[in-house]
């Protein structure tokens, strides 16, 4: 009897979490380099107490994981020479106080010392894990498709683009950054596009339909709980009623 309530509850819990994911995707619709996520549900089969039980096997819902859509987002041109987009599978490497982080957000700027940094002031790492510095005489900064930076003073290093065997396994840490223990491998077939940023790959229509779906599923799961409750109430009233 309680099982109907609990099964309904597992569904509602997972739906609430799915709604949070949909909300996060939509909130980050305009976040540079953001990758949309959706939950993966799994059936959890409850082992029955006895083999010859007349009961059917019960199954609950579990959220097993979050699947990240790693497709490239669209390119948005900004005409800012310090904005870079990566076309293909790869990440920029950034040194933060917490350690190396990876990002697809190619919006960088110079700090007061002429170093190329992210919005939060963390330096971008170029070849040899060294930050990129520009002097004040360098006004024309050109970045080639392979990441080679050149200015009036000649070649100034090469932006590293790294890839991973299993990019879905990376952990998001906020600020458009990812963290992973996996060894870096050389990115293949990637191109850096200067003066553009990769927009978020959230598909608004998909998220809106998912939102409606979540809402309706939640309502019906809640109906199930309500009816199970009603059944119990009636049973108590009719069976346990006064003996007359």
């Amino acid at each position: 009897m309680e099982n109907a309530l609990l099964i309904g509850l597992t569904r509602q819990m997972t739906l609430k979490r799915e709604m949070a994911l949909v909300a996060n995707n939509l909130a980050n619709m305009n976040t540079t380099g953001f990758k949309a996520e959706q939950p993966l549900f799994e059936e959890y089969l409850m082992p029955v107490a006895r083999d010859d039980s007349p009961n059917k096997r019960l199954s609950f819902v579990l959220d097993r994981g979050v699947q990240r859509n790693l497709a490239d987002g669209g390119l948005k041109t900004t005409d800012n020479p310090m904005d870079f987009a990566i076309s293909g599978d790869g990440f920029f490497k950034v040194q933060t106080p917490e350690g190396i982080r990876y990002t697809r957000n190619g919006h960088f700027q110079l700090d007061g010392t002429g170093r190329l940094v992210t919005d939060n002031g963390h330096p971008l790492l170029a070849e040899g894990d060294a930050p990129v510095f520009f002097s004040t005489e360098e006004t024309e900064i050109e970045v080639a498709a392979d990441g080679t930076i050149s200015t009036e003073l000649g070649e100034r290093g090469k932006i590293t683009v790294v890839a991973f065997d299993n990019p879905r396994d990376m952990k998001k840490t906020g600020n458009n950054m990812f963290e992973t223990d996996q060894p870096e491998i050389e990115a293949e077939g990637t191109r850096i596009i200067q003066g553009a940023l990769e927009s978020s790959n959230v598909q608004a229509i998909e998220e809106m339909t998912r939102m409606i779906d979540v809402l309706r599923s939640y309502t019906s799961a809640s109906k199930l709980v309500e009816q199970a409750d009603e059944m119990k109430r009636r049973a108590i009233q009719e069976l346990g009623g006064r003996n007359n």
């Binding site: 609430k16 979490r17 709604m19 949070a20 994911l21 949909v22 909300a23 996060n24 939509l26 909130a27 980050n28 619709m29 305009n30 976040t31 996520e37 959220d63 097993r64 994981g65 979050v66 699947q67 990240r68 005409d79 800012n80 020479p81 957000n105 919006h107 700027q109 110079l110 700090d111 007061g112 010392t113 002429g114 919005d119 939060n120 520009f134 004040t136 005489e137 006004t139 009036e152 299993n166 879905r168 396994d169 952990k171 998001k172 840490t173 906020g174 600020n175 458009n176 223990d181 608004a204 998220e207 809106m208 939102m211 409606i212 979540v214 809402l215 939640y218 309502t219 809640s222 409750d229």
Partner: protein, 261 residues
């Protein structure tokens, strides 16, 4: 409901986005204005099931954990300092900078401000001042009987005096550049002041490597591109609406729950 507060962060971000875009559009005809762009970042992630944690004692690990993000925040609103177009005004003291430099201006409080808006005039003493009457450094005085002023690309100011055939040099403009010009702090009226992010100014003459050259009788227009602003505005507005829809849907879910009993 987490989704309520997540969607609220989304709405706030889009509201700021619209504010930035509207400021750009409002300043479409402001001399020397540089357009801005809001840049967003995702917020913290809640780990409900950690990626890479052991899923059995046989050494298997969770390939994709459950991470729920908590919304979006503004990373920065940065200025895109590309060159604006040049507009021919025919006024002898309208000067455009082609390149990276900034004019230096003495503020009444003794500080130095920097500007790219070169619509200058003369004050009663003949000094070259901005439209607010602040002296443009290094302080150039045009003689009262000057009938023509010529400013060349290297910033040399020459005046032709009444009754003379040869022009005389009366001053020399200089320009300031910064390691990170987008890091300057705008104080309104087209003025900027230096910050720790911009770095200290380097002073040089127009025409020096990296400073840019001057062009007399021209003004630099704003670098706002109306078409791209309007399309950004549409995106921002729709994103705002969709986040509002998430709030409605979350509200409905909560009301379903509270109506159970």
């Amino acid at each position: 409901m987490q989704s309520l507060s997540i969607a609220a962060t989304g709405m706030m971000a889009q509201q700021l986005n619209v504010e930035v875009i509207s400021n750009n559009i409002a300043n479409m005809s402001t001399s020397g204005f540089k357009r801005q762009r809001a840049e967003f970042q995702d917020l913290l992630y809640q780990n409900l099931r950690r990626v890479g944690s052991a899923s059995s004692d046989a050494g298997t690990v969770v390939p994709a954990g459950v991470q729920v993000g908590l919304g979006v925040k503004t990373g920065s609103v940065y200025r895109i300092t590309t060159q604006g177009n040049l507009d021919n005004t025919e006024a002898p003291l309208d000067i455009a900078i082609q390149g990276r430099g900034y004019f230096r201006v003495d503020l009444p409080n003794g500080e130095t401000a920097y500007t790219r808006a070169g619509n200058f005039s003369r004050d009663p003493n003949g000094q070259i001042v901005t439209s607010d009457g602040y002296v443009v450094q290094p302080g150039i005085t045009i003689p009262e009987d000057a009938i023509d002023i010529t400013i060349n690309a290297q910033g040399q100011v020459q005046a032709t005096l009444q009754g003379e055939t040869e022009a005389v040099v009366v001053g020399q403009f200089d320009l300031a550049t910064f390691a990170n010009a987008p890091g300057l702090d705008p104080i309104g009226d087209n003025y900027f002041v230096e910050t720790a992010a911009s770095g200290a100014p380097n002073i040089g003459a127009p025409g020096d490597q990296g400073y840019g050259t001057l062009l007399q009788k021209f003004l630099e227009t704003s670098n706002v591109n109306a078409v791209s602003e309007i399309s950004s505005l549409i995106t921002a507005q729709r994103a705002y609406e969709m986040n509002a829809k998430v709030i409605t849907a979350s509200d409905e879910m909560m009301s379903v729950t509270s109506n159970l009993r």
